[in-house]
């Protein structure tokens, strides 16, 4: 069966520090991959999505970047974190997006 893993579960980072959040999918190949951010009191905002290795589409210009170095690995990064980067980050995958996504368990990022 397919599973999706996200780590770490929680992270507290100082302003100006780098960030690397990792998401991996098991049990499938060539999935569509997505990074969402959920800010307090707001819905989920799509940040990046990828339909293949090295193929990244950015939805919102910001302080973050994404990479897909392997078929089932999706990484969210920042060179210098801002306070506004705090939030709950969710990774998701899908083979048939019209049937919905499967989400990971998320990473709670607090920038201090």
């Amino acid at each position: 069966s397919q599973t999706i893993h996200q780590w770490p579960a929680t992270l507290v980072q100082p302003v100006g520090s780098p960030l690397s959040l990792e998401c991996t999918v098991e049990g499938t190949s060539n999935p569509n991959l997505y990074w969402y951010r959920q800010a307090a009191g707001r819905g989920l905002q799509l940040l990046f999505y990828s339909v293949g290795i090295g193929q990244i589409s950015s939805e919102v210009p910001q302080n973050l970047s994404a990479s897909r170095p392997q078929d089932r690995q999706f990484i969210l990064s920042s060179k210098k974190l801002l306070l506004s980067d705090s939030g709950f980050y969710l990774c998701a995958w899908s083979h048939a997006p019209n049937y919905g996504y499967t989400f990971g368990s998320g990473t709670r990022l607090t920038v201090v």
Binding site: G43, L46, Y49, E59, S94, N98, Y99
Partner: protein, 114 residues
């Protein structure tokens, strides 16, 4: 651009009762897909139910059903026989036919009381 609106930030219901969560959306597309996701305190997003716009029949999954009104662009979720485990944030989401990107509403926090 498509938008999804959930006008009820919070709702509460007593165990075993029925509750309806509202969702409206805006699109110029004729075919699309609508979803309800549940996010319990564990924060894991779980797909509850899905509706295809070209299907007039309302989707049903056990105690969860939707009232899909295409002309009104309304997609409400009805939870029957509410259980304590239904306590969660509920997000309505939209996906156009020619895209694979989900657009979410701001969510409704549902509290089920014993």
């Amino acid at each position: 651009a498509q938008t999804v609106t959930q006008s009820q930030p919070e709702m509460s219901v007593q165990e075993a009762e029925t509750v309806t969560l509202s969702c409206t959306y805006d699109t110029s597309e004729n075919n699309y897909y609508l979803f309800w996701y549940k996010q319990p305190p564990s924060r894991q997003m779980i797909l509850v139910i899905r509706q295809e716009a070209y299907k007039q029949q309302n989707a049903t999954e056990n105690r969860f059903s939707v009232n899909f009104q295409k002309a009104a662009k309304s997609f409400s979720l009805k939870i029957s026989d509410s259980q304590l485990g239904d306590t969660a944030m509920y997000f309505c989401a939209f996906m156009g036919d020619n895209t694979d990107k989900l657009i979410f509403g701001t969510g409704t926090r549902l509290q089920v009381f014993p």
